[in-house]
Structures are given as C-alpha cells and as structure tokens.
C-alpha cells in the first residue's frame, strides 16, 4: 500500500504497510541515517524527529498517521558543509563522543528553540529529559543548545526575520 509522506519538505510515495513505524521507512526506504534505532520502545529518544513542531519517537509512530503532516529529520536541518544552527553549535562545542544519540538530541532541542528562543538551563534540562546519552556527553549537549539559542537570536535580530514557522 502506498503512503504519501512529506519529509524535509519533499514528497515521498512509500510502498509499505501503514503500520510500519516511521523510523524504518526513513532509514531503509529513504536511506536517511539521522534517526537511529535505540529501543523501539519510546524510552531513549535516539529516533526523535519532528512532526510539525513536536518531537516524536519515530520508532513508535506508524506512517499511517503521517499523511498530510510535515516531518523533519536531521537531514532537513543542514549538511556538513552548511550545518544548521544547532548542528553548528554542536560542532563548535564538540558535543559528541560516539554520536549515536546526537541526532535525536538535536531534533528535540530544535523543537524547544522554535517555541522558546531563550530557554533557561532548567528548561533545557527538563525538555531534554526523554533523550538518553550513554557516553556522558550531556554537559556539552547542554552547552551546545545554549550556544545555538544565542546564535539563533543573534541571527534573527538581523532582518529579515526567518520564515521557519510558516506552514
């Protein structure tokens, strides 16, 4: 059965069981590496992507519920040559060890910064609670999110304002 998905502003017709969780479609059908399999249980956040403006566990989200909804993955935020603000901040802070959890961290942080341009330390920690890191890179992840928030504010202070939230 064909399901139409909007991933990073691109239309994809996917021939798959509608019950298939998004994660496997992203990784195997669309060959997008950003979202990672971690637990399949919604406990670790390695598979986090954005559906509209909300972070979701792609390992638990069947593609059937995604028709007509905008999905964003790590690949939609930037590239190695032209990283998005969070990616750039994570690179500047060297906020990775093995890096396996980081795509999920970046997507969850993206959702926060789109809603709250100046989160406090406590708000960041609380918001990032669903995502696990095993290397202990957390302190750098926090610094990177903080840096990205500041960088994004500086950038948005320069007109014209970004149209990121347009739907």
């Amino acid at each position: 059965m064909t399901v139409v998905l909007n991933i990073n502003s691109q239309r994809h017709e996917v021939d798959a069981d509608p019950a298939t969780p998004l994660l496997y479609v992203l990784r195997n059908d669309l060959k997008l590496n950003g979202a990672k399999f971690g637990c399949g249980l919604g406990q670790c956040g390695a598979c986090t992507v954005l559906v509209e403006r909300e972070p979701v566990f792609s390992c638990l989200t069947p593609i059937a519920v995604l028709e007509g909804r905008r999905v964003r993955t790590l690949e939609g935020l930037g590239t190695a040559d032209k990283p998005g603000p969070l990616q750039a901040a994570f690179i500047k802070e060297q906020a990775a060890q093995c890096g396996y959890c980081i795509p999920g961290m970046i997507l969850r942080a993206q959702a926060l910064l789109e809603k709250n341009a100046s989160p406090t330390q406590a708000q960041i920690r609380d918001h990032m609670q669903p995502n696990l890191c095993r290397c202990g890179t957390h302190m750098r992840i926090l610094r990177a999110i903080d840096r990205a928030a500041k960088d994004m504010k500086t950038a948005s202070a320069t007109p014209p304002a970004p149209t990121e939230t347009a739907r």
Partner: protein, 743 residues
C-alpha cells in the same frame, strides 16, 4: 550486490581505486602487517607487533598519504588523535591524510581497542613511523637535490632547501622505499616545535555524525541487503525444545529461517518485517529450562562462596598490625551493563567462498579467528572490517552480533545480511561488568599516618572476549555447541578484577590478595575500567574513612601518603580549582567529596572534587559542581582528553547512583531503560570542569578509563559528609539511600 562495498567512513574508499601504489599495498598489506618483529630491540608502541613502516604509512604516486591503525574509533576520538600524531611528524596538514582503521586485510593487528591503550600502542607507533618516514624522505631528498640533510626542511608534504628548491614526497617515494623495518629510535619533533600535537583539533568524525552521513555499521546498506533478527532463548542455557515456523513463513517479506541447534533467526526483506517475524517466531518456540540463576538479594554471598584462585599481589611488612586505630569495611558493586544506546549490529556477506563481516568489535583480528573456528573455516577466508557502532564502553554484544551475522550469511550465500539486536536482547544478553566484593582493613599510627593496609578483592574474570567460538553467544547454542573459554584473570600490573587493588599510597606494611572466581553464574566480561571502578571506589572511600579516623583533611591525608610528584600535582590542582576547604561548613544536606587514582597505577592520573545534595526523604542524590584534574602525559588533543574525562564522570555518576542489573531465578529482568534506568538530563551535575595538566616531555598515558573510579568514590565521600552515613554498597540508589538515611 554489484561489487564489493566498503563502509563509507572515509575518503579511503575513493582513493583505493585511484593510486596504483596503494592498490598494490592493499594486495600485500596482510603479509606486511604480519612480518615478525626483529628479536633484538624492543620497538616503541605497536611497532613491536608490526615493524615494517609501510604497515603504518603509505604514500602513493600522487602524494596521497594513508595511515593505517589496528585500533578502532569507539567514539573516544582516537581517529583525530592518531591523525594529529601522523600529521605532526610527516609535516603535512591532518586533512590531507586518509586514515584506515582496524581491518584484517589492511591494518596491523593491534589486538583489542581497549584498556586505554590506543595512544601508547598505536599513537606511539604511528608517531614514530611517521618520523622515520620523514627521515627517509629527507635522505632521498638530499640525494635528489644534492644537498646535505641538515640544510633541508620538511613542510606540507615536501622537502625544501633553503634556496627554495623542493621535492614532494610523491616524487621521492618509489617502489618499496617504505618497506623497511622500523628503528628503535625516531627523530621525533621536540616539544617546543610541535604544531599539531597539543592542539585542540576538532574531531574529524563529528560533522558527519551530526548531519546524517553514513557513519555507523547500522547505516550500511549494500545492494540486496536483507534484515535478520535472532530469537534468543528464554533464559541462559535454555535449548529450543520444539517450534513451528509455518506462521512465520507465511508473513510478508519473510525470506528464510536459519537454524542451527538452538540458534534460530528470521531473515526478511524489510527490517520491520524481520522484527514482526521474530515476535511471531517467539510465540511459536518453546524452550527447555536453563540452569537456575542465584538469588539476587544474596549474590555477593553466593559469589564469595564459589571456589577461588587466590594470589597475593602485594605483601610487605606486617599488614596485620593494629596501630592506634584500625578500621575494617566491606564494599560491593552489582552487575552493571554497558547499555549502549544503539543495540549491537553487524553486516556480513558470504560470497565466493569468502566471508566479509562489518563489525563494531573492539578486536577485528580476534573476532575473525573466533568466527573462523565457529564456522570451521581458515581465518584467511574471513575479512573483518571495523565500522563504528554506538559507544561500547568495553566488551558489549558487538562480537556476539557479528557471530550471528556470520552464521546467517554463511547459510545464505551472496546475500548481505544485516543483524541488529533488539533492546531487550542487548540489555538481557550482553556480558555485564561483574559484581564484586572488597574487604579492606587499615591502621594509622600516632602521627596520623597509615602504617598498615590489607585489601582483598573477589571477582569473576573481566575478559571473556573472543577468544574461542564459545565466547560468541551464538556459538554456545549451535547443534554442536562450543563451550566458552576457561576464564582467566588478567595478570598484574594491569590486572582485571584486581586492577588498582594495590594502593598507590606509601604505606609501610601492606598486603593485597586477589580472589579470582572462575565460575560465572551471570554472563560477564570487560566493562570500562574493569575492576578499577570498584577497587578505586573502595580504596578512595576508605581513605576518607581513615582520614576521619586520623582527624585529617581528606586531601591533606592523601598528599601525606603520595610520593609521586605527578600524583601530588593532580591532587593539588583539583583541590585548588574546586576551592577545597573541608573546614568550611557545607549548607544543610550538602557535602563535598574528593578522590584520586592513577588508572592501573601506570596510566593517566585523575582527581575529582565535587559537591552534592542528598534528599533524605526521596533518597535522590543531586550532583552540584564537579571539578577534575588529569595528567595523561603529553596531551595530543586536550579537548579530547576533557571530553573523555567529562564523559567518564557523568557515566560513573550514573553507574554509582542508579545502575544495577536485576534478575530473578530464571532470567535477567532489567531488559529495557525503565527496568535499567541510567542518568537523565535533570539529574546531571550543575557543572563539570576538567583541567588537563600537559606533560609535553612525557609519554602518552591512556585516558579513556581514568575517571570512573575517582568519580564514584568522590560521590560516596561527599555523600558521607552530607549525611554522616557511609554507604559501601553500590549503587547509591534512591531506595538504598532512603533505607540508609531516612529521617
């Protein structure tokens, strides 16, 4: 499958098709790497294992430089640090070098990437080989340009004269110019002239990991790849009694079921199809009972009662003397899990009578030999290539899943097979860090100095790596099963269960006994820091207990017993940066703690000072400020060292305050993140600062495991200050804390 594929981890894959010289290297590399070392002089680092310079460094006809290491990137940043070593001595920019990591067809056999050894083993070898290659280039250039060597300078891949004439490496190198044996002495760049070593070079792997490049073994997708899932038994040692495959075979996408004895796997076109199929297979499979597990509540009594091989690893003077005050205490740690965020994964392909395995194993050569024995193939027919996985922190299920993939691929010729474990497999079947018990007694004299120290440690082995095929989980469940190797202790001075059991402190009378228990009721192997985590937790907790007995400040007490000036510097630096003042009263519920160790008593020095708050009603420990100092010898990449120590501290805080593998009499019961919680963001320290003491004149010292023990003991010591109660059983989890200090 159209052609042999390579993990797209580096530019190497592209280059391999280009330079003719490199291709011929590739064909002969295996032989080169295996040339035996000359017997006479010990060569530096792993040059002793692979003495030919071209085992480590290749320069092709276009001037492309390739560096080969037998070590693997595990997320510790080793690729970047090794590139820095090579670039410094070759006098080229790091980004002009292609680095090839652990690969049984191309790189030296450097054993396992483990034990904080990579910089001493591979870093030293590559740096020395690079310096010797540069010297060869100088000699060749002197002949070509007709000038004497002292008048030449190496820079940016060329050798130049003072008047501007130059020859590029590519012009100088020809034939087998680098196929020469390494010399014991290398013309290393003096510390003052270093330009790349010591720099905070950004990690080369981070941009790709942060933007979705195919960086992991999980990301490999060769044409025609199929997805497999293995149905693990109901519990340790259970055998497949009977099963039906009809329902599974009727499922969409299912290609085949591969079975050998009690090893059974489904292979499907799609990954989610394989997952669904293995779930249905589980409902149609029945297992015999395996042996009962011990009672978790009394696990340490059970382990202590097992037969043990006892060795006295330190015995000086009369350690039994009583002094003016003698204390005794027992400490325990539970089984703890590697618990990688990404479950273990491998891709394997059996084609043209050759098996290729892409693996995140820490030891591609030992894994190759293990798989060879399991499949009754000569090792030459097996090619193991390292591709990064999720961080492993020791011997997790990386080798097991490679064994799974090899078995399935062998049964399905021509089909690349990808196997990833499910979360419950990873948590339930990985080899855990062993539960341990220690008992320590010590006495102080009238001067408040330690005069006697007795330390005993009971532990299973800390290494069940491959090894024999029985060390691969699948090997134990075949129709003709393999037994795991007989467990062995890792000898001193590095030690395994007794790693860091010998105190670093100057104590005139001391005795340390290591009780090695071969029987393993729970599957165990190497978890980052091995026994050092618990032995340092014990030693450094007890140092505080003895400091209290002597009425001394914990930092001053340590310094009074430390003679090594580098140890003293690390302790002093951490105390100073933290602003240590034990006399100053902490706010209610807060306490400060300090701990120090030199990992293995021969690697990096690390001291940790921190404060924390204990909520007596919830039992929750909240970490405040954490400050560490570390001396890793010559620091190749100071930020890499800080990243490792920060990570070690946070990971150890997680082990120490929440982590414990649970089991009932049948099976492991901590099989996901809710039954095996680890630290989440809200529980992080308020801050972690790491101060690196660079020693440019000193050898590299391993860093990766140096922080775990000191962080654990600093937490326990701060807890004791905050509550007045000493906790000696890990983890200091909320239920334990509540029962210890409830109001």
């Amino acid at each position: 499958m159209t052609k042999a594929f390579m993990p797209p981890l580096s530019r190497r894959a592209l280059l391999a098709g280009g330079g003719a010289v490199i291709v011929s290297f590739a064909l002969t590399r295996h032989g080169l790497a295996q040339d035996a070392a000359p017997a006479k002089t010990k060569l530096p680092g792993d040059l002793s294992k692979a003495p030919m310079l071209d085992s480590w460094i290749g320069i092709d006809a276009q001037g492309g430089i390739t560096v080969f290491t037998g070590k693997a990137e595990l997320g510790q940043g080793i690729k970047t640090a090794l590139l820095q070593c090579a670039a410094e001595e070759l006098k080229v920019a790091p980004d002009t070098i292609t680095l090839v990591t652990a690969d049984t067809a191309r790189t030296p056999n450097e054993g396992y990437t483990a034990g904080s050894h990579s910089m001493q083993d591979s870093g030293v070898a590559i740096r020395c080989a690079a310096a010797q290659v540069r010297a060869i280039m100088m000699t060749l250039a002197a002949a070509k340009l007709g000038v004497s060597e002292p008048d030449l300078t190496a820079r940016d891949g060329a050798i130049s004269t003072k008047n501007g004439r130059s020859a590029r490496y590519a012009e100088l190198v020809s034939g087998e110019a680098l196929h020469v044996a390494a010399q014991p002495m290398s013309p290393l760049t003096p510390p003052k002239e270093l330009k790349v070593i010591g720099e905070e070079m950004p990690r080369v792997d981070i941009p790709g990991k942060l933007t979705g490049k195919p960086m992991y073994v999980q990301d490999l997708r060769p044409d025609g790849m199929l997805h497999a899932r293995v149905l693990r038994p109901s519990n340790y040692g259970a055998r497949l009694a009977y099963f039906s495959t009809d329902a599974v075979r009727a499922m969409p996408g299912v290609v085949d079921i591969v079975r050998d004895g009690s090893f059974i796997a489904v292979v499907a076109q799609g990954e989610f199809q394989a997952i669904n199929a293995v779930n249905v297979l589980a409902q149609n499979a029945h297992w015999s009972d395996g042996p009962q597990l011990p009672e978790q509540r009394t696990i340490h009594e059970t382990l202590m009662a097992l037969p043990s091989q006892d060795s006295t690893i330190l015995d000086k003077g009369d350690a039994a003397q009583s002094g003016v005050k003698r204390l005794k205490a027992t400490y325990t740690r539970p089984y703890q899990a590697h618990a990688s965020i990404g479950p273990s994964c491998a891709v394997a392909l059996w084609q043209d009578d050759r098996l290729t395995v892409w693996t995140h194993s820490q030891g591609v050569y030992p894994l190759r030999d293990s798989i060879a024995k399991m499949l009754a193939l000569p090792p030459e027919q097996i090619h193991c290539i390292h591709a990064e996985g999720s961080g492993c922190y020791g011997h997790n299920a990386a080798d097991d899943v490679a064994g799974d993939a090899a078995l399935i691929a062998k049964a399905m010729p021509g089909k690349p097979i990808r196997v990833q474990w499910m979360r419950e497999d990873e948590h339930g079947w990985e080899p855990f860090g062993p539960a341990m018990q220690t008992q320590v007694e010590a006495a102080v004299d009238t001067e408040g100095k330690l005069i006697a120290w007795q330390f005993e440690v009971w532990s299973n082995t800390h290494s069940m790596r491959p090894g024999g095929p029985g060390n691969l989980l699948a090997g134990q469940y075949l129709a003709q099963p393999f037994q795991p190797d007989a467990p062995k202790p890792i000898p001193q001075p590095e030690g395994g269960g007794d790693r860091n059991a010998i105190p670093i402190y100057a104590i005139p009378n001391a005795r340390v006994v290591s009780h090695f228990t071969p029987d393993m009721p729970i599957r165990v192997s190497a978890l980052r820091a091995l026994g050092a985590y618990h032995n340092i937790f014990t030693t450094e907790s007890f140092m505080d207990e003895m400091a209290d007995a002597a009425g001394a400040d914990p930092v001053a007490f340590r310094l009074a017993h430390l003679q090594d000036p580098r140890a003293r510097d690390v302790v002093t630096r951490a105390a100073k940066e933290f602003g240590w003042n034990d006399k100053e009263k902490a706010p209610a519920g807060w306490g400060r703690g300090f701990a120090f160790a030199r990992y293995k008593n021969l690697a990096a020095y690390c001291a940790v000072a921190l404060d924390l708050h204990v909520d007596r009603s919830s039992g929750i420990i909240s970490l405040g400020r954490v400050v560490a100092a570390v001396d890793s010898g010559q620091a190749v990449n100071p930020d890499g060292i800080r990243n490792q120590i920060e990570g070690a501290i946070v990971q150890s805080a997680s082990w120490t305050t929440v982590e414990e593998v649970t089991f009932d009499r049948e099976r492991i019961t901590s099989r996901d993140w809710s039954s095996y919680p680890i630290l989440r963001f809200p529980a992080l320290p308020q801050s972690v600062a790491v101060h690196v003491i660079d020693r440019p004149e000193q050898p590299f010292l391993g860093t990766g495991e140096a922080g775990q023990g000191p962080a654990a003991a600093a937490i326990a010591n701060a807890f004791a200050r905050a509550t007045g109660t000493r906790m000696r059983q890990l983890p200091l989890s909320p239920p334990r804390v509540r029962s210890a200090v409830a109001i």
